[in-house]
Every structure is written in C-alpha cells, then in structure tokens.
Amino acid sequence: MKHSFRFPRDGAGVDRARRRFVQGLAFGGVAAGLAGWRLPALAAGAPRAELSGTEFDLEIGALPVNFTGRARTATVVNGALPAPLLRWREGDTVTLRVRNTLPTTSSIHWHGIILPADMDGVPGISFMGIAPGDTYAYRFTVHQAGTYWYHGHSRFQEQTGLYGPIVVTPRDGERFPAERDYTVLLSDWTDTDPERIYATLKKQSDYYNFGKRTLGDFLHDARADGVAAALAERRMWNRMRMEPTDLADVSGYAYTYLMNGHAPAGNWTGLFRRGERVRLRFINGSSMTFFDVRIPGLKMTVVATDGQDVEPVSVDEFRLGVAETLDVIVQPDGDRAYTVFAQSMDRSGYARGTLAPRAGMQAEVPPLDPRPLLAMRDMMGEMSHDMHGMPGMKGMEGGCGATMDMGDGTAKGGAAQAHAAMPGMTHAAALATGRGVDMRVATPRTGLDDPGVGLRDNGRRVLSYADLHTLGGPFDAREPGREIELRLTGHMGRYVWSFDGRKFSDAAPLRFDHGERLRVVLVNDTMMTHPIHLHGMWSEVESADGAFQVRKHTISVQPAQQLSYRVTADALGRWAYHCHLLYHMEAGMFREVVVA
C-alpha cells in the first residue's frame, strides 16, 4: 500500500535548485559549454546547424555542455547537440563520412531509412562499429522522403547527445506545402552517467519513480470513494505486486527535457508571420521518454508520421513514442506567441518551445497535467471490459486477465479458473510467468483508438493510431504468407526486458524468407508502452479488423495491447529489431532478424 500527500506538480513548492534543474539554463547547452561564450537571446530563434547536399563529413566527438548548472560532457556531431540537420533529396545517393574522435567505438544509425544492411550502423549486426580515430563511409541511395533522424547505436551514446534530424525533400515537392518548416527534436538530457542509470535500475528499478501512491493518496481516495473502494483498488494492484504509477523507468528526477537542444528555460523559438502555414517535424530523439505534445490555442493538422504522408487529421494533442516522428501543420493567425508544450508521459517534466511572430516573445506555459495511473485495461486488456456485469466475478479482480503468479511460484490463482469458465479464452494455459516475466495478458485489447494512459478523456482531441491512414495504401498488397507472434515481456523488479521471455543473449535470430510478406503480431505482456523498431523494412500496421492502417518504422505498443503489422522481407541481410527504450534494449529487449 504505497500511497501520498499530493504535492503541486507545476513547480510551485519546488526549490530553486530543483527548478533550475527541471527548467534548465536559459543559455545552457552547447553554448554554455564553450568557455566564456554566451549566445544572445536571439540564438533560440536562429537557424540550427544544417547540412545539405550529397556529400557529408560528420565527426563524432565529446563536447563540454551545461544544461542545468553542472558541467558535463556530451557526445555530439560536428560540435552540435542535437547533431546537425541533414537535408537530403529523394533519389540522391548520399555519402556520409563519419569520423569517430571518441576514445571508444561509435556508430550512427539512419533511423527509418531503407538502405543496404551494411549501411545501417548497428555494431555487431551491420558492421563492427567505428573504432576510435577511424572513419566509416556510409553510402546509399535515398528512395523515400519525409522526416527521419539519426542516432548512435553504441551503448548509451544516444543518451549523451548523439542524435540529429534528417529531412528528405520529396522529388516532386511537398504534398502539403508550408511557408515555414521546422524540425522539433525532443530529447531527454541527464547529468547522470547513463551507465550509472542503467546500474541503478538493475539495483532498484523504481528508483526514479517519485510519483508513487502514498498514505496521503490513500486517505484522499478513501474520503472520495469510501474506504472499501480505496482498499479494494489497492488490494488488486498490491496483491499482484504491480505498480499503477510505473509510467517511466527514468523520470524528470534525472532528466531535463530538451527541444532542439534547448532546456525549457532556453525556449527554442520558431518564427512565423501571421497566417503562414508552419510545418513542425516532431522527432522523439529521447532515450526513455514518451512526450505528449500540444500547442495551446492551435489545432495541429497531422500530415505525416515516421516520414510517411497520412490523410490529414486535425488534433489538439498527440503522444510521440521514442524514435517516432510526426509532422504537423499549424496556421497561427494571431499576433501572439504560442507555447509548444511537450510533457513527459509520467508528468515529471516537460520540454517547451515557442512559435512567435518575433523573437523574444513567449506565451503562458501550461501546468503539467495530473499524473495519471495505469488503468485496469493496461493490465488486463479486453477482460477489463468483459468483466463488467458478470455475475460471480466479484473479488476476482486480483488475478483475472493478467495471469499472475500468486505467490508460490506455480499457482495462477483465480485467473486460470476464470478463463476456463469464459468462452473464447483459449491461450491462458500457455501463459506462464517466470523469473524474467512478471506478467502475462491472456486477453489483450486489440483496438488502435486508445490514445493511452493519461490522455484518455482529457477533454482534448488526442491522436491515436486509429486516426493515422498512410496515403497511397500499402507498398505490398499481398496477404501475409505467415504470422509471427512475439510477446513483449519483462520483469520490472529485476529490470529484465525481453521478447517472448528471452533476452537477446539467449535468443536465436528471427528468420524471414527473402521476398516473403509476413504478419508480425505483438502482444504487450507488460505495463509499459514499448516503441518497437524493425530496422531495414517498413512495418505496415493493420487496423483491428486487419485492413491497412499506417506505415511506420517504430510502433508504440501500449500495455496489454495486441497489435499487428505486415512486413515485406525484401531487404537481404542481418537487421536489428528492438524496443527503442534505450535501457530496455540494453537489457536484452532485442532480436536479430535475418533476411535470407
């Protein structure tokens, strides 16, 4: 029964040092790292490092930075954090000579770009990495357009700043023309050595969760809903040793959230003239953070995701999973500033920037939303609905839907019995928990229309995958010849993450036959949202009824959700396939895919 006095979460009551940490320095980052250099306030609106053409020389190096008042060393490209925007043209063959000046092996992966396997930049799979002092020449032809990004694929270099945007200009011009075009790269900066963060999670996995429920919360709920209801609700979670506040493994306690390399106080600014259409290319370059993005006062028209144009859809807010990209067009018609507000999913902090007609303006920054709790559907999937009104189900909440080890390592408590008694529940038997799997979902939910925990019924029009329809249909209209089901598994307490209960070290590669069309079904047996990224090939997500929905390179699978997508295995070679939460990937939520 872990419960709480609720502190105001919007900064009030937070001491000054803490606020500086959360909001960062106004002139922080790379500029502050250069001894004695201070960029003027206008720098926030100035163009960022950008490279275009077909020949690129990139240098990975270390650079002193200061985002929070503490001097640290970041991993950067050409002295920039984020790394320079690379602007390519569809159809061009680009050559990128990447030199590594770090004392350790490094790498760059071009996220979402279709290219030969040896150009993909994953050490141990695509190549051996770039040794200290060496240069690797990446060369490939770009047959796609849109917003992508690039990042390090070596250990935790991505966490320390090795990420940057890519924009590929379409050969025939933009489908959705706009007068202004900005990349908005969101990331999570930490002053803590990521090796230490990873080790800490292995020692105490809830170390960064400062949003747990406390005794005060219990008293509050007991007053509001009655003691019996509050107790029953706690009983359910606690009996299963599940934590409904487990929204992010690493929180604002360790992170300062950045927008284009600017801490909130630094206020990245994009300029516009009234009435102009402004295209914002959002990229989540975080290691661990899902962002919920909105621009109070503006409707956003979503026009592309993961580089792929979609039927335009107008929303107030969207959740951007780690490694996903989303392009929106806004048309500010006031002579005023608008805040681009990106709060972390666990509401422990935010990245923030401004759209303004003139530099130096700013608008009100909204308070963080209340911290949400995971719901029954995040643990039990469909069954949380089925259970309503079923006679004889009272008191069963503890074990139903999610198959839980009830304490002695073998018994499944009421869950198995419940499944036997219910028609249409067949897979329960095979779903065992174990030392690396603390939860199973017997009846996952299958819809795509849930925007996810914290965004449900918040009064705003929030994007969900059900709203995304890639224009032009699938690249391959064949029916899948076979189906691969993978379960996303983990053990929160031991901080073990895997596919199908097997960590990378213990798992054989997945084998795709060259040219085949197959369906991948993912079932999330955890209470976290996992952004799953298949390298080398597109993932064409199916709607709940099996129709083509949206083409993506990274797919966020919500807790207790089942989701499927079609893949055409047309890219020969060895590829990485993993959860894009960096510490989950390092913990083994990773598979090799071999196309042969």
């Binding site: 040896d118 050969r171 020692k203 400062f210 107008s314 073990v496």
Partner: protein
C-alpha cells in the same frame, strides 16, 4: 466509414481555408476522401509477384488519379505510392561470428554483472538497561538471475561484539518473485563460534511483503530456522515507514550462546526514514525484542531481561 469521411472533409476544408496552395490541396483531399472505398479495395487486391508491389502501387495510384483528374501538384501523391525500392544486398556483410562476439561488438548489457551493497541498518540503540550499536547489511554481485550474496547482522555492546552473524550465499532466481539461496553462515561474538549450512527462500509476497525464510544445519545435530519480513509504507515520496519482523528458532539448546531449544527470539521494528537521496536515508525507530521459552529463561538467569525495548537512530545507505 462515414464518420471518417466527414472528418476528412473537414480537414480538407481546413486546408482549403489556408492561403495560396490551399485550393489545390483541398481538391486533392476531397478527391482522396471520395476514393476511400477504393483504398480499401486496393489494400486487399492480390499482386502477382513479390517484387511487383511497387509497380502495382503505382498503377492503382495512377488509376485513382485518372478517375479524379487531380491538379498538377498532386503528382507527388502518385509518386508517393511508388516510392519504395528494396535496398540492394549488403556489399560488405559482416563475416560470421559467434553469438558471444556479436554481443561484445554490440556492447549489449543484457547479461552484465552488477553489484549492490546495502547497509540497511546502521544504528545506535538505546534500551531500558544499556545502549548498543547494531548493523544489518547485505550485498550482492552477479547477473540477473544468479548472484553471490553476503549478509551480516550484529550488535556491539560495551565495546564487545555480541550475537553477530555473517552469511555467504549463492542466490538463484527460480520463480517470478522468488529466489533460493544456498550457502554458509558463521555466528560470532559472545560465546563460541558456530558454523552452519544455509538454505533459504527470499522474495516478494503478494501485497509487497519482502520475505526471507532460511533453514540452517550445523555441527552436532544443530538446526535453526530464521524468518524475516519487511514492508515499506510511503508516507510521502521520501518519508518511508518500514515495519520489520524477525523470528528465530533452534532445534537444540546452545546455552553457551544463550539459546534454548524451540522458538528462541523475535524482533519487531518500526523505522521511519527520510530519503535525502534514495541511497542515503537517516532514520529513527523503535524496536521490541523478546526472547521466548527456554531462551527467555537463560537470559533471566544471566541477569538480562527477556524483553527489551529500544529507541534506534541510524542511517540506511546503499550504493
């Protein structure tokens, strides 16, 4: 479908309202909205050859545009459908390597060794008759499912260590919430030292109770049982109340160490800590200790009370 189309029209209207290229854009979207049912048909239409999908997509896109006669800028739309080109095979694929070499090249950390040292109690205790210093520490080093554990517990009173023990155990995770532990224990301090073989179960019970139950077998037919349980109640995010209970039982009396056969002693502690950092938390607490049965008799005959109540103050530290 109709709701989706309506939404689509709205968006098209929104684009139409935008200056400049709005008109062309809106036309395209309206056209697309009308093509919706056909989209669905496209998606399920079979194709002839695996690598023909790009061509197929182009054809359907062209067909659609022929029907709706789009304006020039939307040529981009038809190109979009044709955009996918399968990548050529890798020119320089990696030579064959073992899984271990691959893991090393990737710097994958999924089987790495980690270590933790927790000084759970490091405290000064003030009781009815005397004061003492006490410790309870445990550390581990190892991988996710197999670790080497070290535990030690004891007290110092009047400059002398009394009733202390140290254990070295192999810990293996065997179930969702449970580990078994196998190793050795040595008792030291007042009285003769004793050595034991230890086997126990440790883990997390429903409702977040942390439990440890260990059986010991020693020389001369000695046997012992030890049970520990603790819980953490969050008063705030940093203020934690930790109730903790401990019970010891022995199969055979060991008067030299003040132990009688049967249930020998129990301890119940309540510690309130404040986590300045997660790793560093000063605390205050209150601990009840009670000796039972024959052990209580031995204590009384040695002039010690069978029960004791102590205020404690200390720090909990880990790294």
């Amino acid at each position: 479908m109709s709701r989706r189309r309506m939404r689509h029209m709205l968006v098209a209207a929104l684009f139409a309202a935008m200056p400049q290229a709005g008109a062309a854009c809106a036309q395209e979207h309206a056209a697309h909205a009308m093509a919706m049912p056909q989209d669905a048909a496209d998606a399920s239409a079979p194709t002839a050859a695996p690598d023909a999908h790009a061509r197929h997509a182009t054809q359907t896109a062209q067909a659609r545009h022929a029907v709706h006669a789009p304006p020039a800028p939307t040529a981009a739309a038809s190109a979009a459908a044709a955009r996918h080109v399968a990548p050529p095979p890798p020119a320089h694929p990696l030579p064959g390597m073992t899984h271990a070499q691959m893991v090393e090249a990737m710097a994958m950390g999924d089987d790495a060794v980690h270590a933790r040292l927790l000084l759970d109690q490091f405290e000064h205790a003030r009781g009815d008759d005397a004061s003492a210093a006490a410790w309870n520490a445990q550390g581990w080093i190892g991988r996710d499912f197999d670790k080497l554990w070290f535990k030690t517990e004891g007290a110092r009173r009047g400059g002398q260590v009394e009733d202390a023990r140290a254990e070295l155990l192999w810990d293996h995770a065997f179930a969702t919430w449970w580990d078994w532990q196998l190793g050795a224990r040595r008792d030291f301090g007042a009285g003769p030292g004793r050595d034991w073989i230890a086997f126990g179960i440790a883990g997390l019970a429903p409702y977040w109770f942390e439990l440890q139950a260990t059986a010991y077998v020693g020389a001369q037919g000695r046997a012992a049982l030890r049970f520990e349980a603790e819980y953490e109640l969050l008063l705030t995010q940093r203020l934690v109340l930790q109730p903790r209970a401990e019970l010891d039982a022995y199969g055979k009396a060991d008067p030299a160490r003040g132990i009688g056969a049967g249930l020998s002693d129990g301890e119940f502690g309540l510690r309130l800590r404040y986590e300045i950092r997660r790793e560093f938390a000063p605390y205050v607490g209150y601990v009840w200790t009670r000796r039972f049965g024959a052990s209580a008799g031995l204590a009384r005959s040695a002039g010690e009370p069978a029960t004791d109540r102590q205020w404690v103050a200390g720090v909990r530290v880990w790294f």
